[in-house]
Amino acid sequence: MSTSPVLPKLVGQRVKRREDPRLIQGRATFVDDVKIAGMLHIAFKRSDVAHGRIRSIDTSAAKAMDGVEAVLTGAQIADLLGPMPIATPFPSPAHRAVAVDTVRYVGEPVAVVVASDRYIARDAIDAITVEYETLPAVVDPELAMTGKPTVIHPEFPNNLAVPLVPSGTGVTLDGKVDDTAIDRAFKNADVIITQRMVNHRLVPNSIEARGVVAHYEPGKGSMTIWSSTQNPHILRTMIAAMTGLGQDQVRAIAPEVGGGFGSKINIYGEEYVAAAVSKHLGTAVKWIEDRSEAFLATTHGRDLIGYVELAAQRDGKVLGLKLRLIADVGAYNMLLTAAVPTLAMMMANATYDIPAIRTTLTEVFTNKTSTDAYRGAGRPEASYFIERAMDMLARELKMDPADVRRRNFIAPNQFPYQTQMGAVYDSGDYEKAMDVALRAADWKGLQAERDAAKAEGRLVGLGLSMYVEVCGIGPSSSLPTGGWEHAQVTIERDGRISATTGASPHGQGNETTFAQMLADEFGVPIEHITIHHGDTGIVKQGVGTFGSRSQAVGGTTLLMAGAKVKTKMARFAAEMLEASVADLVFENGTIAVKGAPTSAKKFADVAAFAYVPVPLPDGMEPGLSEEAFFEPTNNTYPFGCHISMLEIDRETGEPKLLKFVAVDDAGNLINPLIVEGQIHGGLAQGIGQAMIEEAVYDESGQLITGSLMDYALPRATDFPRFEVHSTVTPTPVNPLGAKGVGEAGTLGSTPCIVSAAVDALSEFGVTHIDMMLRPEKLWRIIHGARA
């Protein structure tokens, strides 16, 4: 059984996306486009204090308004919904979807209005009066760790969500810690780099905020819920558990989803409230998040402090790394909150073979919005700490930043490589990626350019960084939701192909890449294939889209299901053609006996026989539909090297990015056009973090960057043209050899930019600058040194 190359192979080609026609014509269905007869609109009254006890809530004026169907306080919602579950094994304070007596961050819901339209719902929210007894708030995690000035959850003394957890060399699974190796490394060092670094808080800001439509049908006793989510199957599981329905009675639909970047993994209180209110009132309800609401109510990213110590020899060889991490997780644990900083521990050594490593992690509650996954989720933080430290080491030793890295890389012949942190890197060639980047950027040429610019008095600097990340997330031991994916492939009666996947995309283009793979597998035009996703009523099982796992896990699963149905189809065709399966060839939508093209049967003909099998061949069941579950044995570890050139205006301190070169190795690529888009998007978010984005709270716990007027979301004018290149080191973990690429761009870019800024300002003796590169901060370095 073979597939003839009559049709051009699509895998590896820059195939235009099949999703696009509906999107470019405004004919896609996002959650706010879903309308149901009789549907009511929900709005949330939210706390405007960061920490306080609710003294009273007066809803009488709201209830009296025309068009208002119901007003529910936290106590009333608590009758409908229990505390919200999380998906990590850490202890967690009780967290209600709507606060009952205490609020712990600005934006925490305190009451719910249900009204006939969204304008009336908002009017009613404004008519609710809440009185608070204000309590002291804490926004600085290092202050919060002292238990002062407040304890946010009484059962968590000193606000420690997760008290100090050690990891690395000499730490055993049962928690015993032996410091001999790490102490020796620091004792033997010629040079020790020590730096506190802040990987600051960000607001994810998918351009479509969140939204949900819940439709409980009392007659059927079942619920359909549309939500702008990255993982409808997890949503279904959680909604069922929280509303007391069975998983068979809940259908969750992720319609077109307008971006997520990790912030739509979490299952949120608003989703539970919508479901519960719909069930309570027996009618459909809709909630659509405003942007101002999203700033407060959707999880934030990063917010990790790292105390970094790097011990090295004079020749640049690193002997040891100490990394003390303090994570500000905000007011509550959400679905994956507690797990995200653990990924920063896991990837502490990044691309380097470091003999001794000690990391510790402390997670701290503060009166801020909760953090959770945001593009990269823990890995960009790890990459930032180690890469900045390597750069500081190079500067200290007056070595080229590339040479210091070259001295410490894990070598190609060391893979699979068991790290000190418990990861097993699948495959890699870090030096090659760096060399490709150095050549592509003309590193020596750039250095000459920088030196010439500096000689003219301009502040120009270069940055170089490596990264390695964890992608293709599985197996189940690494993911509480299960580390597999599910797919089903069906040859329909007319010969067309339907496929379902549990990987639920929100911009990744799976409808295209997955169809490319099936088109090649079956030897059919891509137009004969439809990929279904995002609907638990159609897609039987699934985990979801996060951790850059769609292609590596979801794609592999789909191919496995395809191979199963292809085998069965070949058996039916063999019966029809009175031939052996081994002699069949799949070609341009037909199956023929090799060397006898006139024998060719169309897919529709074979399907007609398979669905009306007279006579039914011995040992066969009718039909052509097969499913598969696939769980990888390991994560994948994509990597790369980024190089940047940046200039800082001496008079104003304003930084301008002049050049950015990225070399990324995501293993085998299914669609290089889509991969390029993913890299660009990741770079934009990483460069955005380094240069302009920052969530800023004041001491009272007010988010002062609470709208797009105050939070600097990057615009087209903020970037130069990115130059992207790739190396290809396939993974042995899945048969595609694909590693995953969604988050890559955020990893190398932040340290690369900051190192370039430090290089630009080297004449002022600066060795490290915390992100983001606010012009005022840079101006003070420039002008403070002069004074």
Partner: protein, 162 residues
């Protein structure tokens, strides 16, 4: 309630609306033209961009009553006679979108940009779409798409001169 009448994608639409009703909600909720999106509440994101009398406008900054008597084109009205508008084709060809939520507004702004300046430089393109946020693409493929559209119209113009 106030009576309004406007031509939307070539059709005359009359309705009674609340004076405070935003144009974007009139288009989305009353006319069911849901291709125009709402991405913020402070007129920054540009997802709601439509053409009013040929000029790009953020439809969340305009009350429906202010658009009375005007001609409006939304993303749904851009394709003509079953043919995609060249800007739509170029966004498709150059992978100028990922999640697609900002795309309708981005395309309407790009159409306006080329109407004002048919042969913009890359900097002018970046400036021209700086009122529209995209969080997925890093803008490079969007810039490519607009350049591609400009090049196509130039070669179309030069071939028609021949």
């Amino acid at each position: 309630m106030t009576a309004v009448s406007m031509t939307v994608n070539g059709k005359v639409r009359k309705a009674q609306v609340e004076p405070r009703l935003l144009l974007v909600h009139f288009l989305r909720e009353q006319l069911n033209l849901t291709g125009t999106h709402v991405g913020c509440d402070t007129s920054q994101c540009g997802a709601c961009t439509v053409l009013i009398d040929g000029r790009s406008v953020k439809s969340c900054t305009v009350f429906a009553v202010q658009a009375d008597g005007s001609k409006i084109t939304t993303i749904e009205g851009l394709a003509a006679n079953g043919e995609l508008h060249p800007m739509q084709e170029c966004f498709w060809e150059e992978h100028g979108l990922q999640c697609g939520f900002c795309t309708p507004g981005m395309i309407m702004s790009a159409v306006n940009l080329l109407a004002d300046n048919p042969q913009p430089t890359e900097d002018q393109i970046r400036e021209g779409i700086s009122g529209n946020f995209c969080r997925c693409t890093g803008y490079q493929h969007i810039v490519n798409a607009i350049q591609h559209a400009a090049n196509r119209s130039r070669s179309a113009a030069s071939s028609s001169k021949r």
